[in-house]
Symmetry: C2
Subunit: 233 residues, 2 copies
């Protein structure tokens, strides 16, 4: 076998058009990945079920080829499991898996908190304060779904403030895996209130750039998250 180094394609600098991007050309791949992810997270594809390619492709209006590629992508993300000659099945998480993931997630968020306190811009912090305020409004209105979405966004935004791209990427992956679990965990009013209070403290610590306090409350927040979902598994 001859493996020769492939000829170097030249610079290939991507246009990197950040903002002016109309949703003009979105590759089908991304669309499929997102739709499949949503179907798994929202429970339309429950854990353990096999992903029938023909059926699923017809349902989504695409052929099997791009669908299979999307499934392989999700497999690497850890949402589905590839079984030889038998296709893909939605991965199921046991209680220990969830606990382990929350532990890692908490550690990553603590790291992100330290970095964010050190280097975040004032605008970035203000943005998170804005997200938080909107989240509180949804909480007062009793809108669980919107609350939930903003909650996730806040955690993601804090990690993004760390300026560490790989950290943000891994955090997003773990959060995605846990979304399905959290989707189930419907905590009672008192625990919900406690979660909101923790968030308030988080924002205050961030605004004060208090690394220790932010890391501590994040750790507590994740521990409590485990308490909230442990019954639902």
């Amino acid at each position: 076998m001859q493996i020769k180094t492939m000829d170097e394609s030249r610079s290939l600098e991507r246009p990197e058009s950040a903002l002016p991007g109309p949703i003009r050309r979105t590759a089908l791949h991304d669309t499929l990945v997102n739709r499949l992810r949503d179907m798994i997270i929202e429970g339309h594809l429950s854990p353990g079920t096999r992903l029938n390619e023909g059926q699923l492709g017809q349902m989504l209006g695409v052929s099997r080829t791009p669908l299979r590629e999307a499934i392989k992508y999700l497999a690497s993300e850890g949402l589905v499991e590839l079984v030889p000659s038998r296709g893909a099945v939605v991965k199921r998480f046991g209680a220990k898996d969830v606990q382990d993931m929350l532990l890692v997630l908490g550690t990553l968020e603590e790291l992100a908190a330290k970095l964010a306190c050190a280097i975040a811009s004032e605008e970035g912090i203000a943005e998170i304060r804005g997200l938080h305020d909107r989240m509180v409004q949804h909480y007062k209105a009793g809108d669980r779904l919107e609350y939930y979405k903003l909650n996730q966004n806040i955690h993601t935004a804090i990690v993004a403030l760390s300026g560490n791209a790989p950290l943000a990427e891994i955090h997003a992956m773990l959060q995605t895996r846990l979304k399905r679990i959290r989707f189930i965990g419907h905590e009672g009013p008192e625990k919900w209130a406690a979660a909101v209070a923790e968030h308030e403290e988080m924002i205050e610590a961030l605004e004060a750039r208090d690394q220790q306090r932010l890391a501590a409350v994040l750790g507590r927040h994740l521990t409590n998250a485990w308490e909230r979902v442990r019954g639902a598994i």
Copy 2:
């Protein structure tokens, strides 16, 4: 319907898939993923180069379809980047990316160290001691490649001792991304000796189940790793 959880087929020692190998028992997908990974890590596909599907498929003896699926998998792993209408290019890491990844890797290893000290079995620790001793032998023999492999294996094994599967998985992903970088970083004799000494201290701390010391030396080890490779980027 029973779902049996398949065990890891990720072996440490890959049989270095021979060319005429009609090993049709393993799924082609895994084979392709591994071979592409190796080609990227070992530099046969340098960062920035486009992955030409036709050419690569012919080179590897497969058609484009399974190759594309493998590429999508690697994209989710972060080794290649998908550019719409232009295929996949080998991701290039800047100095900051490497530094960021090492920071996350260090944090994860510190977490793993704490867990491992708490729950590892004596056999598990003894096994790592064995790996370490073999590594030292290769060091004394001046065999860089074998030393390097055992070095990676030791870190992987420590993380595995934590008993936290998601942690191990993410750690492996990051380590894979960094393999290409470390493959380049040929440190001089004195730094090499320092690295070995750090490893010796790691093992001692693990055998003593000293969480603080193990976490500390792991952090120092990763910081030094950054010093060793920063020139090569």
